[in-house]
Every structure is written in C-alpha cells, then in structure tokens.
C-alpha cells in the first residue's frame, strides 16, 4: 500500500522569469506586488505565480499491490509455483490557475481535474525441476504467464471558477466547461517460456531458454514471437590447473546470445480509428468523426538479438576486481512511426521499419591502490562504456529516409539540419544579398554550392550518443577520516539547446541568454545581429546545436568518525560528522562559452524550462545511542 502527494509537478516559473525585463519593478512602495511591472502585457510579474493559491497543481496517488504465491513440491526436485501479482492504482490530479497569473492575466480562473484507475495483474504458473546426478546439475523451468492491464481515466476542465478559494474542488460552479473526457486502454501479454540450466562441477555452465510471447497490440496473425537464448559460462578459476595460482581468485568467461521482444507501441495501432472534430451549424453542435489514424494490421514484435562476451575477474586477493563486457545488438523489425506525406490524409503509421545495430564495450574495475598498516586506504571504482549505433536498413532496404530523418549508418537520433558557416561580415555584403540574407545575419552553409539555401543544404550535425562515457570514484580513509569523490564524463555527443532556440530572440523584447552577437564593431561569427522586428533570427536552427561533452564532479563527501572511546564517554554508541557537496563542478564548453545551464540530458535536448543544475552542500552529524 502506497500513498503519495505531489505538488507542482509541472510548475516551473524559471523560464518565464528569465524573460523578464530588468527595468520592471516587482513591488510598489508599499511592498505590494505589481502584476504588470512594465507596459509589456505579456510579461507579468513572475512572483505572482508563486503567491500561495495562484497556481495549484496537486497529484495524489494511491497504490495497492501484492504478490501472492503458493508452492507445492510434487516430487523430489519437482516444484509447482503459482504467482499472482495484482496492482491497483488510483491517481487524482487537480490543477487550478488563478486570475492573477501569466496564463490568465486577469481573466477568469481555470480549474482542471483528472482521475485515473489502473488495474494490472500478472499471473504466472511455474514448474521447476532440479536434479543432481553426480557432478552434473540439471534445472528445468517451464512457465506460463499472463499480464493484463486496464487503465481508465476521466477529466474535466472548466473556466470561471467563482471564488479562487474553491480551487479545483467545485468545478460545477464554473461558468463554462472547456473540455471533458474519459478513456479506457487495455492490453495483454501472454507468454510461455522453457529454460534449461546445466552445470558440471560449477565449472561449465549452460543456460538455454526459449520464450514465446504474445501481445494484444499486434496484428491478428502476428501476435506471437519466439525469442530463444543461450548462455555458456566457463569458471576457469575452478579448474584444477588454476588451483595453485597465487594471484587469480576468480576468472570466469561468459558467452551468450539471445533475443528479446519489444512491444513498444501504444495499443490500438493495428486498427484505423476515427478522430473527433469540432464544428457547429449556427449554435447547434456539429461534432464529427473522420479517419484519424491508419491501422497497420501487420504489426509484429521488434526483436533485439544480443551477442555478449564477458569476463569476470578478481586478482591478488581482491586487490583488483572487475568485469569486461563486449556486446553487439541487432534490432530487427524496429517499431517506429513512419511519417507519411500528408496529402494522403494521414500523418504517420506505426510500422516495423528496419534494422539497427549497437556495438559497444563496458568495463568496470575496482582497485585497492594503497592499504597501509598505518590505516591509510585508497580504493578506486572505475566504469567506462563506449557504444555506437547505426541504422543498417530501413523500410526500403539500405536507403536513406529523409522524410523521417533516418539515415543508413547513422544513429536513430542523428540531428539533420542547416549548419552555420558563420555570420555574414561587412565585407561580404554582396554575397549575403545573393543569398537573400544581410550583413550580421546567420550565414548558412551552402552545402551543394548552388548559390541558394534550400532543403538540400541540410547536413548531419551529430547525435546524442556519446563517443564514450565513464566515471571514477576514489575513496580515501585514514584513521577516523574518510573522503571520497565521484567524477563522471560523457564525451562526443551533440545537444540541441532549448535556451539558444527559445531564449535567444535577439529582438530586445525579452531578456535572453547572453551570447556573443554580431555588431559592426564586433565582427563575431558566433551569433547574429540583434533586430527589434524579428521573432527569432533567420535560420536560428543553425545556432542551436552544441558539443554536449562534459565532465562533472558529481559529489564530494568528507567525514570523521570519532573513536569509540570518545563516543562512549559521551554516552553514545557512535559519533560521526560529515559534509558533502552534490555536483560541485561542471566542466563543459556549453556552459563556459555559451552560458548554457547543464548539458546533461536524457534525450539530446536541453529544455529551456529545466531547473538549473543545483549544487547542494550538506553538513551533518550522525549520532547513535
């Protein structure tokens, strides 16, 4: 049973605050908020957003889940087990936007509520049989499982809440209804699996698996997919010839190859569905329904087949331990949205599109560098990974798909856009004019050299996949003192900066990110000349991509544990004082040169609404009685 309350999950006045005119006054002489600090009607006072009750966003979640099982030994070594895992979720979302906010600017308050009810259960029937014959160990598992998910939701949004104190608690009082809705989504997975484990003296290990998974999300004749796997292990350190080794504690070689299925599409993609339209004849509602999605009755499982070679080792009585993994994953029948030319009346269809390949290496290493008799100890943990992704083929074989921005040999997330060649300089006025541009504007690379900028001049600008990433933790301890810090690096990825796209108008109306912009006296090639009559600089998509490489010190911890003798004198069991700093340093050209906030992102895009990376310093005292 779980219950949680969360406030303000989407409220973040940070981006809006950045745009404020510095000439505005937030408070009048009496200390009251000035709602419109300047005569720009769009730039209301961001402090009004945080007045209690002005913006309310509240989510309550209830969850009841359980895992019930029963087990029976049928014969010696043969076991039957049934697992049942019901999971109920109830979710209530409430939102209120008062009149004195930027969203309403004095207009009637709005309220919204949404409720969702989920019921998910998993039911598994498992038969296992274990048998030992001499030095041979056998294990057989057979499994059948079904997982079913029901998700219902309903919502309403209204405008004209009479008293702001009502918030979203009486939508019936509002003067108009903006929208109502409810919905039901159901899906099911039905699976069968057989697995065989075998080992000989814990030296040679074999696991063979065969899964057959069925998903309701796929086509009538393509619901099921088969996913075999085999894993071999050789525990070399258990061999007789290694028994005498003084420096090898553990050495294990692993090889495996296996497939897994991915059903990563929303339900109901196999069928064509209608979409609702809104119209009226006079004042009579004329809601309509028209073809909205185009179904793909042939949708089937996406399959990822991974070949993996790994070594686990421990040397010199644990002074050096670690693992090395080499892997290659081929994903076939990739499930992706295939964008369609919109003149056919549809925008996209979900399809099994093509094949990608991921290759990489992962290394983890733990070392004890120094361990003196005097009590000084220094250990390190190192992780390193390198991955490369490439599209091998697409719907029409190894042919680029410009419409979907997917290109053979490139990652799925490759950025493909205009490239900035610089800024048109005063001496290039004629050339700028020939491109219908002007001095001080962005000079876009004319890739094909045809004397004009067209869609054909777009180029590859990198992807969010790093060349490599890695981290190192160092720990030092001496007598009662301990110190550790963690450094993390990600190198070679490209990021799209929302700040440089949305907070870089260079038009003078909104406060914006500080950039090195062009003026006749500052002939830079970084950013274009400001222009008061533009919404954004022309071709501003050419100035939003940056090298996203960074090195971060994630944390530094320092502490001292008092000797037990002192603690006991104070009638304590133990006494420790400590201090830690989270994220004390970020090194990145995106920050130092372009005033970005934090280049670390999960999807390659740095949102301009993101809260800046915070540095948290903690001092603490840990006392046990």
């Amino acid at each position: 049973m779980m219950y949680s309350v969360r406030n303000g999950e989407n409220l973040n006045p940070y981006n809006f605050t950045l745009q404020q005119n510095p000439l505005g006054r937030p408070y009048d002489d009496n200390g009251n908020l000035i709602f419109s600090p300047t005569n720009d009607a769009l730039l209301t006072n961001p402090l009004a957003e945080v007045v209690p009750g002005a913006q309310v966003e509240n989510r309550k979640k209830y969850r009841i889940f359980n895992s019930i099982y029963a087990e029976v030994n049928i014969l010696d070594g043969l076991k039957y087990r049934v697992n049942f895992g019901p999971d109920f979720t109830i979710n209530r979302y409430g939102r209120f936007i008062g009149a004195q906010t930027n969203a309403r600017k004095g207009g009637d308050p709005q309220a919204q509520t949404a409720s969702a009810f989920g019921f998910n259960y998993t039911l598994e029937n498992v038969l296992t049989y274990n048998k030992k014959v001499g030095d041979h160990n056998f294990g057989i598992t057979a499994l059948q499982s079904i997982q079913r998910d029901n998700f219902e939701q309903n919502n309403i949004s209204v405008q004209g809440v009479p008293a702001e104190s009502q918030q979203f608690y009486n939508e019936g009082n509002a003067s108009s209804v903006l929208g109502v809705g409810s919905g039901l989504v159901q899906w099911t997975i039905n699976s069968y699996m057989g697995r065989l484990n075998y080992d000989y003296k814990d030296k040679y290990l074999v696991t063979a698996t065969l899964r057959r998974d069925g998903s309701s999300r796929f086509g009538e004749n393509t619901k099921y997919g088969n996913f075999p796997g085999i894993a071999l292990g050789w525990n070399i350190s258990n061999e007789d010839f290694m028994k005498g080794s003084t420096w090898v504690d553990l050495l294990k070689l692993r090889v495996s190859r296996g497939s897994v299925g991915n059903q990563g599409v929303a339900p109901y993609q196999t069928q064509g569905l209608l979409g609702r339209t809104v119209y009226a004849f006079g004042t009579t509602p004329a809601y309509g329904y028209r073809p909205e999605t185009i179904g793909n009755p042939d949708l089937r499982w996406e399959t990822s087949t991974t070949t993996n070679i790994g070594v686990d080792f421990s040397l010199w009585r644990g002074r050096v331990t670690g693992a090395i993994e080499l892997y290659q994953t081929k994903t076939t029948d990739l499930l992706l949205s295939d964008l369609l030319p919109t003149s056919i009346g549809f925008n996209a269809v979900t399809k099994n599109i093509g094949e990608t390949q991921n290759k990489g290496i992962e290394v983890s290493l733990s070392t004890v560098n120094v361990n003196t008799k005097g009590g000084f100890k220094w250990t390190s943990d190192i992780v390193f990974s390198k991955n490369s992704e490439a599209i091998i083929s697409l719907f029409n074989g190894p042919v680029d798909d410009v419409g979907n921005k997917r290109f053979i040999g490139k990652p799925l997330t490759e950025f493909y856009d205009y490239k900035k060649a610089g800024i048109w300089q005063t001496s290039e006025a004629d050339a700028a004019k020939s491109y219908q541009s002007a001095v001080g504007q962005i000079k876009v690379q004319d890739t094909n050299g045809d004397g004009k900028i067209t869609a054909d001049d777009r180029v590859f600008l990198g992807s969010d996949i790093p060349t490599w990433s890695g981290g190192i933790t160092n720990r030092f301890s001496y007598k009662g003192f301990d110190l550790n810090f963690f450094i993390y690096a990600r190198v070679g990825q490209t990021i799209l900066s929302g700040f440089h796209r949305d907070n870089n108008q260079l038009a003078g109306r909104y406060e914006q990110i500080k950039v090195d912009y062009w003026t006749p006296n500052n002939p830079t090639n970084e950013f274009p000349r400001p222009n008061s009559s533009q919404e954004f600089p022309v071709y501003n998509s050419a100035i939003i991509y940056f090298d996203g490489s960074f090195v971060k010190v994630r944390n530094i911890n320092f502490g001292y544990t008092f000797p037990a003798s002192i603690a006991s004198k104070l009638r304590m069991q133990s006494l420790r004082i400590f201090s830690s700093i989270q994220q004390p340093f970020i090194f990145s050209s995106y920050r130092s040169k372009y005033n970005g906030v934090d280049p670390e992102t999960s999807d390659g895009t740095v949102s301009n609404g993101v809260t800046p990376a915070t540095r948290v310093v903690t001092f603490g005292l840990n006392v046990k009685f």
Binding site: V72, L178, K223, Q271, R290, T342, S343, E535
Partner: protein
C-alpha cells in the same frame, strides 16, 4: 508437501489460475476498441452524418486563423509588416518564407484531411444506409467542400496532389497534378453538386443547418473559380462568361440582399446571420463547439480579432481591456490603402466604418506623459475621455495642441501605431486573454458577388453592365444622401477602379493575395505600394513553397514531388 498456505487456500488459488489461464488460450489477446471509434463507424447511418460534419471542420483551419490570414493579406499592396509576430517572411518575401514554415504544413495537412474525409463520404455513400435524399445532399455538400479545399490549395501551391478516393492503406506515392487537372476537378465537383444542394439562401436555412453548403454558395464559389481560372494556366475562353453567369445567378435567384449599412455587415452576434451572407464558416461562444482542444489545427476559434490591432495598450491613459482587444499588431495598412484606396471619406463611409480611430481612456490619470503626440508634454484624462484619436489626415501642432488627448497623424504612424481594422474585433470574449473569438467568418458575401460580376463583365468588354454591378456596392457604401455621388460612369471603370473597390470593400477579409495573383500584378503592386515586400518580391512568389515534409516523405523525394521554383 510444503506450502505457505493451507491446502484449502491453495486449491482456491489453483482454481482461479485455471479459470484465468483457460481464457488465455484464444481470445485473451484479442484487442477490442472501446473508448475510441473504429473506422467502420462511418458505414452506419449516424457515422455517415458525423463524417460529413467532420468535413466542414477543416474550414476553420484556414478561415479566421493566423494561417489563412498570413497567406492572404501579408505582403500585399494593402498590408505591410506590423511590429510583432512570426511569419514575417510573408511580408518581406525573404528566406523566412520557406518550405519549413509550420503554418504552410498545417494548412496543407488539414485541408488534405478534409479532402480525405470528403472522399470517404462520397465513396461510401452508395452503400450507406440512409435515405437517397440524404445521400445525394451529403455527397453534394462534400463535393462543395472538396472543391473549396482544392481551390485554396491550387491558388496557394499550384498543381498539387489530386486525390479523389479515400486513402485506405498507407502510401508514400504522391505526385503533382497539373493546375488544369485540379481546376477540372473543382468545376466538375461544384457543377455536379448544384442539382442536389438546397436552393434556400443561408439566412433562411434551418437553425441546425446554418453554415451548410447551399446552391447559392456553390454558384458564388463557381463564379470565383472561373474568374480565377481565367488568368491561370488552365484558362479557357468562356471562363469570364461562366463567372458572370454564376455571379448573376447568385444575385438574381435567391433573394439575397446587400444590407443597407456597410457597418452592419460586421455586426457581431445575431447580426452575423443576414441576407448578405452566402456562406459563412461557423464559430460559437461555447468553447466546446468553438475549438478542438485535442487538435487546434482543426479549429481554434475565430482569431482574426487579434492581428490587426495597434499598440493602444501601452499609451498614456490606456491599458489592455476586452473591449479594445489584444493588439498583436501583425499587419499595418499601407499608405496606398489609407491614402489612395480610402481617399474619399466624404461620400464613402467605408474608411470610417472599416477603421477604429478613437480609444477612450480606461486607465485615467493626471499629468500623464504623452508618447507619440509631441504637441503637448502632459495630459490629464478621466475615465471615458478620449485618449487617442486618429484623424486620418495631418493636423498641425496647434490643431493637436488644442485637444486634451493624443492625436495620431499619418506622419506618426509606425509599425506599432496605425488605424486599426475593426471588422473582426471581438468585445464579447469572456476575458482579456481569451483568443477563441466567436464571430462567424463571412467567407462569401453578396458584395463580393457583385465585384466578381463586375470584374468578369469588364473583362468580357461589357463595361456598362460591369459599372452597374460595381455601383450596387458603391451605393451601399455611401454616407446617407451621398448615394448618387458614389456612382461611377462606365468611362470611369477600369481595372484600377476594380482593384481599389475590392480593397475598399474587402480589406482584411483573406482575399487580397488571391486577388493580386489573379490579376497577375502581385510583383508590380507590391513593388509600388509595399515598402517591406518591394525589395525581394519576385514572380515565383505567386506560389507558396510546398511543405518540405510532403517532398521528403514522398517516395522519390523532389524527383517525384517537385518544389515550386525559387524555394
């Protein structure tokens, strides 16, 4: 036997398991759509009706939207760039107007969704289980809409993808038809719809049918189509005579009438339904029927009230309020529009009725610093006093100084300060920020029919008849008692007169760019009258760029679906 549970509870659980997994064998993976509606709903009588209603909704994408306005009034001889807003490429004809602009993509996508919906209804009609009368009527309406959507597309983009059957399977094979093929489809759709459309005029339609296609609407559209086709690559010798015939039918056959007062054409509320309206795109005061929150590309209220306003709200004595609307200042009238087209303000009432010239103080104060009027440094205003007045002509400093308010004279007009088109202002919105205005958008009105007739007859050499048609519009526009002074003689009628008359009557009504393109003088007149567009405008700007997504996603790319020249 070891068990965490008693034998009894184990048996119950095992039984439950059996029951649940028994069901698992076959049907458990069947996917049943419950809260959405599957495609075959359109084959039911109610679904057939609902699909035909859906086909109308695409009108809202183009009419009374920022998209449609940008693509029809920006960069013309009558409107130049205002201070604010996106899509300035449509004012400047520079590289900001390119194949990536979102509004071009949005119009393209939504009109083609509308076309596909029309195709679905037309193709499924033979099997539909509705009465034959309903079947015929809905098919005729769909043909009217399909023709309407293709007419917008062919004017904006040239020869586009001609699709007359419902898309059942996903495809990437698309291609460009010729303009001739598109026009052939448009005229054939409209002419075959005439027989089955109701002959009732719009204002007499049943209240729950108001806004559906009528025969007069189809004839008006045919008149406009033939007039436009006459100067296109698809032209035929009889285009002008057909245009004149259809226009004359609209004028003669449906007891439609010009309202006596030009201003009342734009009366909001019940006044929106009147005898001058031939076809209007419907908007309402109810958010549930006025916008599609799930897809604002499908409809988001009448937004034209937003874009023509000047920046009154930062002036002394003023603040933004509902009555004066949100001044987005996207378009500024050109000097040509104000000084040449609307030169006559003695006989012609339309300058005064088209532009808002007075703002009354809603933010009073004493010793307010004046802003644009240098005839005085300070002024004091009570609530309701005039705060800003635009006389429309130059006043001397002394004349201005004599007034207790700021006087905005033509020499002080800027990209943010100018006479404000008031045809679309919407003071009935529930609050200050509300964007989804409720005015119907009057897509076809009788005054335009007269102007189409005049142009078609003039082009056919029937100057006397053309003069009579244009005089019908001019007489109505007269100040009381000035009717005969407004009339022109056949000798005074020329294309310049027709071009000016359309601007006087229809300024801002999403028409001008189409007009200039039809007359073949977009470049000439933008160079003459629009200082923002003059430097860059070229003949290739008679077409918009095809959305890049259409080209990129088509099999074969630009070899299969060519971009328009110059983009």
């Amino acid at each position: 036997m070891k068990s965490r549970f008693s034998h009894k509870s184990f048996r119950i659980l095992a039984l439950a398991t059996l029951l649940m997994s028994g069901q698992a064998c076959k049907d458990v993976l069947k996917e049943t759509v419950i809260s959405a509606i599957p495609n075959d709903y359109i084959n039911t009588p109610k679904g057939f009706e609902d699909a035909s209603k859906a086909a109308y909704s695409s009108l809202r994408n183009f009419y009374a939207s920022e998209r449609g306005l940008t693509m029809t009034e920006y960069g013309t001889d009558i409107y130049q760039a205002g201070a604010d807003g996106s899509y300035k490429g449509f004012h400047f004809y520079d590289t900001q107007m390119n194949s990536f602009v979102d509004i071009i993509q949005q119009v393209w996508e939504e009109l083609y969704r509308g076309i596909n919906t029309c195709n679905a209804v037309i193709e499924r009609a033979p099997a539909a289980t509705v009465s034959d009368a309903t079947k015929k009527l809905r098919v005729a309406e769909m043909k009217f809409l399909r023709a309407h959507y293709y007419f917008i597309l062919v004017q904006q983009f040239g020869g586009v993808d001609l699709r007359l059957t419902e898309t059942i399977l996903p495809t990437k094979k698309t291609s460009r038809a010729t303009e001739t093929d598109i026009y052939k489809s448009i005229t054939s759709d409209l002419e075959s719809a005439l027989a089955d459309l109701p002959t009732v005029k719009a204002s007499s339609q049943g209240s729950s049918d108001y806004g559906r296609a009528t025969k007069s609407a189809a004839e008006h559209l045919l008149a406009r189509v033939y007039l436009t086709k006459a100067t296109s690559s698809a032209k035929a010798a009889d285009d002008y005579s057909k245009a004149a015939t259809y226009a004359q039918n609209v004028i003669s056959n449906y007891s439609l009438k010009l309202l006596p007062d030009f201003a009342s054409v734009f009366a909001q509320g019940s006044g929106e339904i009147n005898d001058e309206v031939i076809f209007s795109v419907q908007y309402t005061t109810d958010p549930l029927t006025n916008m599609n929150t799930a897809n604002t590309n499908n409809g988001d209220g009448n937004k034209l009230h937003l874009y023509f306003g000047m920046q009154y709200d930062v002036q002394p004595g003023m603040k933004r309020d509902i009555a004066n609307d949100r001044p987005f200042k996207r378009l500024r009238p050109t000097t040509y529009l104000l000084e040449t087209v609307f030169k006559d303000r003695v006989n012609d009432s339309r300058y005064k009725k088209t532009f808002k010239d007075t703002w009354l103080s809603n933010n009073p104060g004493t010793n307010l610093n004046t802003s644009f009027d240098n005839s005085k440094a300070k002024m004091t205003l009570k609530a309701g006093d005039t705060a800003i007045y635009i006389p429309g002509v130059e006043w001397t400093v002394a004349q201005r100084a004599a007034k207790p308010y700021q006087v905005l004279v033509p020499s002080a007009y800027t990209a943010a300060l100018f006479p404000t088109l008031q045809k679309f202002l919407d003071p009935t919105r529930p609050d200050l920020t509300y964007e989804q205005g409720s005015r119907d958008y009057l897509a076809f009105r009788l005054a335009e029919t007269y102007l189409i007739l005049a142009e078609a007859q003039f082009k056919s050499g029937k100057t006397t008849e053309a003069t009579a048609a244009i005089n019908a519009v001019r007489r109505r526009a007269a100040w009381p008692g000035k009717e005969s002074a407004m009339e022109i003689t056949p000798a005074q009628l020329d294309m310049e007169m027709i071009m000016q008359e359309r601007a006087r009557e229809l300024a801002g009504e999403q028409m001008r760019w189409f007009d200039l393109k039809r007359w073949g003088n977009l470049v000439e007149r933008v160079k003459l009258y629009n200082p923002d567009g003059a430097a860059n405008v070229k003949e290739t700007h008679n077409l918009r760029p095809i959305p890049q997504t259409q080209i990129d996603r088509t099999e074969g790319g630009s070899a299969s679906f060519a971009q328009n020249p110059g983009f």
